[in-house]
Symmetry: C2
Subunit: 455 residues, 2 copies
């Protein structure tokens, strides 16, 4: 231990090392509930690539595990410490190195906050779409590690689609450059994409080349009330089947609507069984909203209200963005699921989730990136009640089983971490896991990078 | 050898095996010039997954190399046979298994021809964008193996962005399922993307889930003539910097324009130094073309001609599509490069290519997916002339060196195969190649899949 600190100090300035256990404890876990977390030996906050290399060389020499971290806003425990590990926090490497409107790229360090990048590129008429709900605090490095999504994905896709190239410090301290800064490139296996979503288990991302889009027109939002979740899901299918490309298409169930109203008096319609939000950032959003409104009505919507202006639209989005937080106030504890199904199965997924809630006698609120088929069932329970806790965990698992049964995945955007390890093996199968382990071994033969995550 | 045939016959119908050397010779290579190709022991044309598994189990048992093939339209020798190999042609597995307008996916076997899929999804109001110039004959499996591009990429991206999930027969015959049929998913390392562009070196793709887009409006094309390649490249930068999203943005240099006219009397302007084609498939393409036309004029265009209708637009695209073929008529032989640079460096790339042509005293015609910075310099030479052949090869290499120097990649969309093996190592560096080999070993420990390609 003292050997570890001494060696680390040899290549790091004093302020880059935290050893006070009261402080290091605050780096022990991300925002996932009910995930095991160990006690770090030390927290390191490097500012340069060389310092990261020094940390990894030291870790390899002493065989100490390393847990890389961004802002710890993750929801699967992927950033949780293991006992005696080095927590490697990248938040101080937070420079935007380049923004090029001609090449439509940004080059950033991993600690840049998502919202800071988004605003910076906006000033150049550019747009960085990925917008996880933690976008005001989460970092690009964390977004890359978890391949995070957000509201934009139905039109603009996930983080993975915006990472063109990376610089990565490997487990042994060597520096690897992957990918490109060009629009296209097929030189060898796509190592860049392999790192996206790898939860820090293959290397430490120290620089990223990100693709940008031109800034679209301001989006306008429509809200539609439905007498049942099934009718809302039917509307989603009609909208997508007709070839519309909304910039978001979100669903909040009755429990979620009421929770949001209770928390923030948003004035959402309490009598609705399902609220659908649909937006367009097209040249003529009002025309697109009118077409979608008609489809909603045909699917049984009882009320269709297009926002008159950007301010009203923003208010509706705020309501959606606070859904998870609001559902956390329903009961003392929550477990947030992240099952994504083919959108044709969204209705079956919501009906099945309601049946699970009834079977386990629990409140399960659902908000969903409906256009993507990506649902967030939030199991609300009292963790002081052992029986309710057991039922909560069982229902959480039942929801994932249902998702797989419907042709979906256990995680649309939150990742695996420690929360869903067993379920990853079920989704991938034996051969899939074996190959994933083979890749891990090729990058990190000593198993030092974020051990115990994924598989 | 007889053992090999006997074992193969045990699990394959007679018509799935070709041993006649005159016929198997025709499977020895793809469309790349000047790439080594061996003599296959046998050509196998399976129709089912089980038959592919039988081939791979046999190959593993007898340690026989396997070279997977689509339509052999590749341009880097990635499908070239090695001596004594099994050529595994997937062209008979050509069923479209599913098209879902709600989920916006198609599920296909690898032998489906790109154009067949494109037309089939069009009938459902859907669009499969990747459109390599061989699209009327090339297969989806080949497109996946080479991660191929096309004219659409500036707006719609490359093949990689449309592959959601795969079924793959591994070297030892086991069946692996990767990815998903959902819009999103982050369960484990992205094995799907790893297979895209892997040139058959990691496994045999036997099924693919492809993402589809809604069919856009018919595109309209504008042609702009420039007094210099530099002015045309300046226009490209202005168009992209202003936030336009053309559905294609192509450049043909003077040599290319004249070659196309000579071959097909297309009536392209012979006096131009560079012809730019720009198209929009937006709701109001004429307005977008007018804006882009003004930018072209500002950049020095001497003539700007928007096509009046779809037929005129199609004619311009035909001219562009026949560029490579036309350049092949300039001299007895050609070598086609595929360097992609950041689009801000496109002007430097074209100027440098012209300087290389002068230095080596050769004709090098350039057509380019200009919006992507992806150039296809075509070195025209007489392969009966040893000195000219040497100069051709040297200039081909000089072009790749220039691309790397300008921050680009040696291959934007044609792949590495055997043609650019040495250059892949230069682009990736020692650490990069080592990790690529590590991945290869994890999937194919005996090195039986398409040996001698990539690295």
């Amino acid at each position: 231990m003292s050997d570890l600190l001494e060696r680390l100090r040899a290549g790091l300035p004093p302020e880059a090392l935290i050893t006070d256990p009261d402080v290091t404890a605050s780096y022990a876990h991300d925002m996932a509930s009910f995930c095991e977390a160990g006690t770090p030996a030390v927290v390191v906050l490097p500012r340069t690539v060389e310092q990261v290399q020094h940390v990894m060389r030291t870790a390899t020499a002493l065989r100490v595990p390393v847990v890389p971290q961004g802002a710890r806003t993750g929801l699967s425990g992927a950033a949780n410490a293991s006992d005696g590990c080095i927590v490697l926090s990248l938040v101080k490497m937070d420079r935007i190195l380049e923004i090029s409107p001609v090449d439509r790229i940004a080059v950033v360090e991993p600690g840049v906050v998502n919202a800071v990048l988004s605003r910076a590129v906006n000033e150049h008429g550019l747009y960085y779409p990925p917008d996880p709900s933690s976008w005001e605090t989460c970092t690009i490095g964390g977004n890359i590690g978890t391949a995070s999504g957000g509201l934009c994905c139905v039109k603009y896709g996930v983080t993975a689609e915006y990472v063109l190239g990376l610089e990565v410090v490997l487990a042994d301290g060597r520096l690897l450059t992957t990918g490109r800064r060009t629009a296209k490139g097929v030189a060898g296996y796509d190592l860049t994409r392999l790192f996206v979503g790898s939860e820090g288990s293959l290397g430490i991302v120290v620089k990223a080349v990100l693709a940008l889009k031109p800034q679209p027109p301001q989006q306008l939002v429509l809200a539609a009330e439905f007498p049942s979740a099934a009718a809302a899901c039917d509307a989603v299918c009609r909208i997508m089947e007709r070839g519309h490309t909304p910039s978001l298409l979100e669903l909040m169930d009755r429990t979620t609507v009421r929770a949001v109203n209770a928390m923030a008096s948003m004035g959402l319609p309490e009598t609705t069984e399902a609220l659908l939000l649909c937006a367009f950032d097209t040249p003529d959003p009002l025309a697109d909203l009118a077409a979608v409104g008609a489809l909603c009505t045909a699917a049984g919507a009882t009320e269709v209200v297009p926002a008159d202006n950007a301010a009203e639209s923003e208010l509706l989005l705020q309501a959606r963005r606070m859904s998870l937080t609001a559902l956390e106030t329903v009961k003392p504890a929550t477990m947030i699921d992240d099952v994504c199904v083919p959108r044709s199965q969204l209705g079956a997924m919501l009906a099945g989730t309601a049946a699970i809630a009834e079977e386990y006698d629990l409140t399960i609120g659902v908000c969903a990136h409906a256009g993507d088929g990506n649902t967030h069932p939030v199991v609300c329970f009292d963790h002081h009640d052992p029986d309710e806790s057991r039922r909560a965990r069982e229902s959480f698992d039942a929801i994932m089983a249902l998702g797989l049964e419907l042709g979906g995945t256990i995680t649309g955007e939150h990742g695996v971490g420690v929360l869903k390890k067993e379920w990853l093996a079920r989704e991938l199968g034996e051969t899939g896991v074996e190959l994933q382990r083979g890749i891990k071994a090729a990058f990190d033969p000593l198993g030092l990078l974020n051990p115990g995550k994924l598989f």
